[in-house]
């Protein structure tokens, strides 16, 4: 579990070819649904502090890989290691508490709660999540103190994403793009080390898209977060990711930096379809 005010991690230099300090390692991951093999021995790793792209044709198994890593599905085979520890098949909340969180392909806001509540929910291990503490007269003052701190941080986060004017709005009333922002804000409040983003930009207006990418880079710079990004927009991938993994039919077809990928015959054939 991460400390509430974790010191910013030192910047890790990431080179495009050699991954020195992998934060997430996926080894021979496999997932079958009945007869369909969705993920077929995918192996790759993600360097600490990097923004890594995960691309591939539709049905390549990207979302399924995400689901297996984050505990939504139990993998049929293979191993997932995070921060040096085996996390294969652990439940989502355990992973989140260890600093590995995700956003959803379709934003899932908690619509009957306010934006602020959505964000205040996220921090892990809040004292007030214990019934005893929140009820017992003496102990409750502790809860109240912690709550004030969480609230203040929540406001800051909302300001960072420029949705603080919506703080008391029900999350269900936000527009599509605002929901994506909220989703990012919420995930950040968990103090993650690594965020998996499943098509965060799909359907996002280009202007907003730029803003979101800017935020992602800012978070990497300032807090040393690691990102794994699924995205179909090649402009985004090529211009932002220092490392790119290409999946095809459930396994990794190629990886490397933008140049390596765009010059890879197989990738061109399987995914990029001729020109880019």
């Amino acid at each position: 579990m991460s400390e509430p005010e974790a010191a910013p991690r030192q910047e890790t230099a990431v080179t495009s070819d050699a991954i020195e300090s992998p934060l997430l390692e996926v080894d021979g991951l496999r997932k079958e649904f009945g007869g369909v093999v969705a993920v077929d021995g995918a192996t790759f790793s993600v360097a600490e502090g990097s923004l890594t792209g995960l691309i591939g044709p539709n049905g390549a198994g990207k979302s399924t890989t995400f689901n297996c890593i984050t505990g939504i599905h139990e993998p049929t085979g293979g191993r997932v290691t995070f921060d040096g520890q085996d996390i294969t098949g652990l439940a989502p909340y355990t992973l989140a508490n260890r600093g590995l969180v995700r956003t959803f392909q379709i934003a899932r806001e908690l619509s009957e709660m306010t934006v602020l509540e959505n964000v205040m929910l996220a921090p892990g291990g809040q004292v007030g999540e214990s019934v005893l503490r929140s009820v017992t007269p003496g102990l409750r003052s502790e809860v109240i103190k912690a709550e004030a701190a969480v609230r203040d941080r929540a406001w800051e986060t909302l300001e960072f994403f420029e949705i603080d004017h919506l703080a008391h709005e029900n999350a269900g009333n936000l527009s599509g793009g605002q929901r994506k922002l909220l989703e990012m804000a919420r995930v950040l409040m968990t103090d993650p080390e690594m965020i998996l983003l499943d098509e965060p930009l799909a359907g996002v207006n280009p202007t907003l898209e730029e803003k979101l990418l800017e935020r992602i880079h800012e978070l990497r710079r300032e807090q040393g977060l690691t990102f794994l990004l699924v995205e179909h927009d090649m402009d985004v991938i090529m211009n932002n990711c220092e490392h790119i993994i290409v999946m095809h039919q459930g396994s990794v077809l190629a990886e490397g930096d933008a140049e390596t990928i765009t010059s890879d015959e197989r990738v061109l054939e399987a995914y990029l379809g001729g020109d880019v």
Partner: protein
């Protein structure tokens, strides 16, 4: 015509006689919430029209309103000279409009083939040849024809949805972000297919976030902001308009 603002002086509106779809002063929303106010749009026979705009602008709402899926609050939707603004969706389909929604556009628990059959629900018989046509267009669907649609990948579902809408050979096809979630080669492919469908004489009204590509290919485009018309013009004109580029196309 009462356009609030236009990007250029040369607006080429279709001749009233050719207008297949005409949306006039439309107000619509959900329950008590009004989303669209005073929206105008036209699609001529065989025309290819694109709507772009920021998230939450009401683009999908326009589409749904044409199909009678929103709360009607005023104005008119005229298709083929009949007012369909307050009709039920299951009647509108008989007029010759098909619609591919942005989300939830396949029947998850039905098989791929059954989804296509449902696309031809209003016909008396299942048109086997059309199903074959769709399979030819999207071969992966033939491969998965017995799999339940809910377990297809995002992109595969998008293809199925499109295939379903094509089962009736409509006069007007409403497409809500057909390229969202598609791999780049498929995006190209999808746009090509849409072109082809349009070439075959089907008019198209499409919402796209992939605005540049869409505007390049279409006949005309609308920019919708906060539930109101902002700009309208030929696709290429909009594409090259500095203001539009700045505000909506991301530089």
């Amino acid at each position: 015509m009462s356009q609030r603002a236009t990007a250029s002086e040369t607006v080429t509106l279709p001749d009233p006689a050719e207008r297949l779809l005409a949306i006039r002063n439309l107000d619509a929303g959900y329950g008590d919430l009004q989303v669209l106010s005073d929206v105008h749009m036209d699609v001529a026979d065989g025309e290819y029209v694109v709507i772009v705009g920021p998230n939450g602008a009401g683009k999908s709402t326009v589409m749904k309103s044409v199909f009678g899926l929103t709360t009607y609050m005023g104005g008119e939707v005229i298709f083929d000279e009949t007012d369909i603004s307050q009709r039920n969706p299951d009647e509108i389909i008989y007029e010759g409009i098909s619609y591919v929604p942005q989300t939830g556009n396949v029947f998850g628990s039905l098989s791929v083939r059954e989804n296509l059959e449902m696309g031809a629900y209003i016909l008396d018989e299942v048109p086997e040849d059309r199903i074959e046509d769709v399979y030819d267009r999207f071969p992966i669907l033939r491969e998965r024809s017995e799999q339940s649609a809910g377990t297809l990948s995002g992109g595969q579902q998008q293809m199925l949805a499109m295939g379903r809408a094509l089962m009736l050979d409509p006069d007007l096809l409403l497409l809500d972000e057909p390229s969202a979630g598609l791999a780049p080669d498929l995006v190209e492919d999808m746009f090509d297919r849409i072109d082809r469908i349009n070439d075959d004489g089907t008019a198209i009204l499409m919402v796209e976030q992939n605005a540049k590509e869409a505007l390049r290919r279409c006949d005309r485009g609308y920019v919708l902001v906060q539930g109101q018309n902002r700009y309208e013009d030929d696709g290429t004109v909009l594409l090259n308009d500095e203001q539009v580029r700045q505000d909506f196309l991301g530089g």
